[in-house]
Symmetry: C2
Amino acid sequence: MSKARTDIEAVEAANTALYDALERGDLDLLSAHWLPDDISVVHPGWPVLSGRAEVMRSYALIMASTDYIQFFLTDVEVSVMGDTALVTCTENILSGGPAEADGSAGPLVGGLVVATNIFRRTEDGTWKVWSHHGSPVLIDRDDDEDGEPEADSDFGPGVP
Amino acid sequence: MSKARTDIEAVEAANTALYDALERGDLDLLSAHWLPDDISVVHPGWPVLSGRAEVMRSYALIMASTDYIQFFLTDVEVSVMGDTALVTCTENILSGGPAEADGSAGPLVGGLVVATNIFRRTEDGTWKVWSHHGSPVLIDRDDDEDGEPEADSDFGPGVP
């Protein structure tokens, strides 16, 4: 097994671990998967949040308002250059709101998000998140032969 | 001037040059700013597009349907680690559609997009784009003291 192959497997595992921590709603575990500083995050539809304090506060907010969330990752692609890895993937999200007054489970909703996750290899060889950018998929991908998606406008619907 | 300072300035210049090429509608110039392969792009609301052919075809499509586009970049933040640079910025976009039948300019529309742009230092010392991820800003940033944006839901409006 080549080194590159091992790197890609290690990055895939780090990427999976990131979403596992989100599914568990474990902020400490999630925090441990990120670099100590110079990090940034864009949640779907949100502005850029920079720095560890702001990034972790946003995840605390998301976890506090999410009773249940599950990520089915598809289209995972990994590109490693030196000590940096770029992962793109589709997050097929199933999430649930707070329980109903009668104690039954809250409504489940699905969503489609694409993410670009940047990892750095740290001194102990583990891969940590440097940046996460997630955005909603608002257009359909054509099934025609060229596979080119059709946008409502140049930069997607609602955006010029 | 420290080396880090120089790196950041070089990356800022590469980032500006990327948007200049888009404003000019010059696909060859734009193409020259990207790494030769393993690249990916997410346009606002679009799925992930991977590989040089697919990425460049998407820009050709955007340029073909855009008569006028101007980017006012704000909140530009650069983080350099080794031979990789991570840039986040807000794209304040002013764009125009095709001219009217009477020859007058088409309608101008504005849009707000946040971008995460990843650059790699190449062998000749120039910085080339590895990945661009742009997404629409769909929520307002609070002006209150904690600066935390408010989402319609956990992952932004329309996304669970």
